[in-house]
Symmetry: C2
Subunit: 484 residues, 2 copies
Amino acid sequence: MFNDIKFNKRQAINVQVYNYIKEIIENGMLPSGSKLPSTREMSIIMKISRTTIMRAYELLNDCNMIYTVKGKGTFVSKMDIATNNGLNIKWGERISNFAINADELDIMKHEKLYKKGMISFSSIAPDESLFDIEELKRSFLNSISIEGKKILNYGYARGYKPLINFLMKYMEDKGVNTKGKNILITNGFTEGFDIVLSSITENGDKILCENPTHNTAIKLMKLHQLKIIGIDVNEDGIDINKLDKAMDNNIKAAYLIPSYHNPTGMVMSYKKREEVYSILKKYNIPIIEDGFNEELQNLGTHISPIAAISGEGNSVIYIGSLSKILFPGMRIGWIFADDKLIDILESVKRSRNIHTSFLDQGILYEYMKSGSFERYIKRIRNIYKEKFELIRKLAKDYIPHKFILGDGGLYIFIKLDGIKARDLLERCYKRNVIFMPGNIFYINDSGEDTIRIGFSKTSIEDIKKGIMIIGEEAKNINNNHVGY
Amino acid sequence: MFNDIKFNKRQAINVQVYNYIKEIIENGMLPSGSKLPSTREMSIIMKISRTTIMRAYELLNDCNMIYTVKGKGTFVSKMDIATNNGLNIKWGERISNFAINADELDIMKHEKLYKKGMISFSSIAPDESLFDIEELKRSFLNSISIEGKKILNYGYARGYKPLINFLMKYMEDKGVNTKGKNILITNGFTEGFDIVLSSITENGDKILCENPTHNTAIKLMKLHQLKIIGIDVNEDGIDINKLDKAMDNNIKAAYLIPSYHNPTGMVMSYKKREEVYSILKKYNIPIIEDGFNEELQNLGTHISPIAAISGEGNSVIYIGSLSKILFPGMRIGWIFADDKLIDILESVKRSRNIHTSFLDQGILYEYMKSGSFERYIKRIRNIYKEKFELIRKLAKDYIPHKFILGDGGLYIFIKLDGIKARDLLERCYKRNVIFMPGNIFYINDSGEDTIRIGFSKTSIEDIKKGIMIIGEEAKNINNNHVGY
């Protein structure tokens, strides 16, 4: 930039140089600590004598704009950061409709949040104290020593090849026919679902899902401006009759969570999976299967995903994620689908963020390959199972309910008996207990008498205390009702 | 699922049990290796005698569907994966317009790709052999030992707090006024730009940018269906007169790359930064400043970003990324902008993929905090500088050009003299030399006589060989022209 200087004849050259550099510094163009070219260098750059430069530097030094360290050079002093009134945009008036919706649908901004010291039933994140850090370190060091610097440089949008191959085999082990299929690695389920919706729906399209369903999925379907057809989930799971009646050839896709359905915690029976698949097949409707938490199923009663039922068919888009069980902080998920579809999804992924962290993919691959993942799953299954049984029993005994749903997993779902969830939450929050009001999982904002109780991170002791408090407050509400 | 069995009176119960379980296995519902409940457990589940279950298991054993390991239990044999003809969707007919565009605009699918053994001038990724792996390992182990398991669990959409604080200070060190500003961590520049466009533009809005400009940015602007106003960049950088003439109050934003502009490699002078800022200010147009590769500038001649000029103004959205220099595989970038705007962008980020890998953010924070980053930058600056000077000299000497642009950085940009870039590429490719034809960086597909020569990963030896080959082939084209 120094060679940009234009000299005039009205002023001494050294003063012009002084003013020029001073302006640069004052405008924040040269951060404090920046090294100036030496006087010799500067005289070459500006095409003037070195003496003139030296005199300009002296002037700058006099007003404390620069300082010299002997043998090191000349540096810019701590400068003032510009405080001029630059352009002020009223951003509130410039936000797109999409962003306004994203803000409005963001439950982190509109729901009661956990505060330190509370008993929390709102989270369904895994208990990090169960993570095996030593295995993780080993996986990191292995990955780095095998792949070296490669996984730190740009990778491929599709994902880290060894991880993709591993997951293809992993899908096969679930009984899925992988012929003509492929995998795209994503930043967790959320990105996978967003990429799929971006790629196979247009604004105004119809999409079908369970009601209630995963709140993040509802948010994304709404952000994509889809018409959402919710099929009731009751004590027997998804209502097959209602599903059948809702059918229509114009439905673009069905989003389903067959295992540990969020928020009800139910595992869809294999028979039902078949029924659902065959009804949707009749109407040519693809399924977006959320493989969420499938891994928590006990091996002895593991039910293969709907993707397994479709055999060589290509209508099921399976989105896998280990995020609810293992290292959610890494945000790794995958889309398993028809090969040609994956090819398109890959371009969408690339346009959004080039690819998912190759370092994380490398670590996860080593972790899974080494058998650490399997050992981890076996260990946590029993721990979560014990908590599940405790909480179900306590909830049955202490919380006035119409029914309690959940087949294991990390949460139970309660339809309260004549109590509004938000009234109950209000009272419990005052006593430092928090849970998820069920209505956020409903398409139509119904379910006001339901709550989801997550227990993955809650200690046995807190579970006991917390459920008691919820029970007490529920009874207080009921007693007050009677009183009026 | 086993308790779903319904018995009839026409068949022996053990045969019904056998058929039921056989169907489950054949349908891929029980993966191979799954453990069946013991005969005792199964008799409780199905509410029939244990002897009947034992006889059913024997039948299954006889047809190799299951096998028993003494003392361990009964397992499903390697099963056949379903090959039934499930529903087949013609995905080609179901792809959204957005995905069709993403596919069409994906240069990875439509441009000549690097093959092993070639001399590549197409990449501008950093040279991974310069990465300091030992420092990375130390950062990883530090991060894990300080933050423990926390950074492996869910984090915040905004980003990892210590990294955000570090980057706020980092922006201040660039001379930027951080009052009323905040930071959102993203998966690299690409996601940052996509989130910004999603949040402040609607389809059909006008956006201004340099022409040529970063290809990924063009792709995203097109995917957001924006009307792109390109301002010519010539030997003196962006054409201020044309910028002034293009002004109009309806332009939603200006996307600019002031440092090491991609693809020309030019660094915008501080005076020009001021001029551009003040022209856009007059028309209330926010700037999306791509902080791309700014770190490569020599400290002595570092020019602060446009964000520094705006002082307390809030019209500059600065997108930072170290991806072109350090660990691109991690995909970490950040958006620095008005606090209230960041609050909205955070919700958009959360809707897309919850947050960026906290493990990676933790590692990068440790790496930067420890001073490793500064040391690394100092080291690579000299290495890249040496290559830059070599390649500029060679290009000047051997490639017939109208002009050659580039102020350092990782690439130079050449306007060829009477040669079509794609003809030249065709010939060079046959001789195992690849580079980027310039037209992919132009809004209007012009620039057919320009090429970008990236040298970050190319060895000195390959640079010498490769430029010679490009020069020879360019002359061959010219000679042929003369011959005809």
